[in-house]
């Protein structure tokens, strides 16, 4: 594999991201914001802790779905961006697998998680290992019985959609949701690292 993960993280973590004269950040084909992570973790934790038990699965699915769509569209914007073409594209020898490895380096550079692909069965399955992710911050002492890496789960599935789900569809009607993610380990649950398993939907 030719992907130089450290170099990608070094280069792309330095991007100067701030609002222009309109207060908006236009980049990678989407509007971006850079908010304190706690706004999102607070919302997902308060929501999932407050819903009745029979609606928990639905609430969690919706949180993952929000990240899945975000990851699909922003992910496409990333892998077609000038920054990608300058830094990552020259390293790609074996597509789409190298693209996936590069995408997770960018994923880490953006601060979503310190995540790497641990196992990849092309077109079928991917296992992600995350040694740090902001969604684990909902637990500061002890262990939770509920896994909380909704963003990580959704975005991991989205990247598999982009790699093996057919042509990118800006409407999301095709291409999106051809894969699904499931969190199988969580730092917030006392595991050493977070783990996401992505398989065909």
């Amino acid at each position: 594999m030719a992907i130089d993960r450290e170099r990608i993280i070094n280069e792309l973590s330095k991007l100067d991201v701030k609002g222009d004269h309109t207060g908006l950040i236009n980049g990678f084909g989407v509007f971006i914001q850079q908010l304190p992570a706690m706004i999102w973790t607070m919302f997902s934790e308060r929501l999932t802790r407050a819903v009745p038990e029979d609606l928990l699965e639905t609430a969690e699915w919706l949180l993952v779905d929000a990240a899945h769509e975000c990851g699909y569209h922003t992910g496409y914007g990333i892998i077609t961006s000038e920054e990608w073409k300058a830094v990552v594209e020259p390293m790609i020898e074996n597509a789409p697998e190298d693209i996936l490895h590069g995408a997770f380096a960018v994923f880490s550079a953006w601060g979503w998680a310190k995540a790497v692909i641990q196992e990849l069965v092309p077109g079928e399955k991917m296992v992600i290992r995350a040694d740090d992710y902001y969604e684990a911050d909902v637990v500061e002492y002890g262990q939770s019985g509920k896994m909380s890496a909704y963003t990580l789960t959704g975005v991991a599935a989205a990247f598999m959609d982009l790699a093996y789900g057919g042509n990118y569809d800006p409407t999301g009607v095709t291409g999106l949701n051809t894969f699904m993610g499931k969190q199988t380990k969580g730092i917030e649950c006392g595991d050493e690292y977070g783990e996401i398993v992505v398989t065909r939907a």
Binding site: I25, F31, Q33, Q34, L35, L47, C70, G111
Partner: protein
């Protein structure tokens, strides 16, 4: 440099792959994420998740702003409001201007709004208020500016870009019996 010129310290922790802004973990997300989270809040009526999202924004930005004011010795109302306007723009939430402010009420105008313009880009116009994050921010801004606690203000979106207006207008009102006195 004037005291009301916002200075955010960005840092990237390579070991953990985390961005920090003024010491708080910060994360990049797109308008799809913000719109879908807002839609989730709209749909989840059982819990009044709209209020929940607004309160999460209020709690987050109250912490951000009060810390900033304290660390930079910003005590004047005008300076505090200006810093809040700049923060809103720098993190990509849009262009917010405080039209007027007092301890009991105020109004802000959003000439641009990530939530509204992102919503339109994703789904087109709506007939409902959707900027719960913006309303929470405004409650936090007034509470922090007036040395008040969270939940002492509420916000009402009078018009919005997502509903077809040129600008969004949010009114903020003190909801305590004592007016904070």
């Amino acid at each position: 440099m004037a005291n009301d010129t916002l200075r955010l310290r960005h840092a990237f922790d390579k070991e953990r792959c985390r961005h920090e802004i003024n010491g708080l973990t910060a994360v990049l997300h797109c308008h799809h994420f913000a719109s879908l989270t807002t839609q989730l809040a709209n749909d989840c009526q059982l819990l009044d998740a709209k209020k929940l999202l607004m309160q999460c924004a209020e709690d987050t930005f109250h912490l951000v702003l009060t810390d900033y004011y304290q660390q930079n010795a910003i005590t004047g109302i005008e300076e505090r409001l200006h810093v809040g306007e700049q923060y809103f723009a720098e993190v990509g939430l849009g262009k917010l201007k405080v039209s007027y402010a007092g301890p009991y009420s105020g109004e802000v105008v959003l000439e641009h709004s990530h939530l509204d313009e992102g919503w339109i880009k994703k789904w087109g116009r709506t007939d409902k208020p959707i900027n719960y994050v913006g309303c929470g921010f405004v409650c936090a801004l007034f509470a922090a500016a007036y040395n008040r606690n969270r939940r002492e203000y509420t916000a009402l979106e009078l018009q919005s870009i997502a509903r077809g207006a040129d600008v969004s207008v949010i009114r903020v009102m003190d909801v305590t019996d004592s007016g904070g006195k």
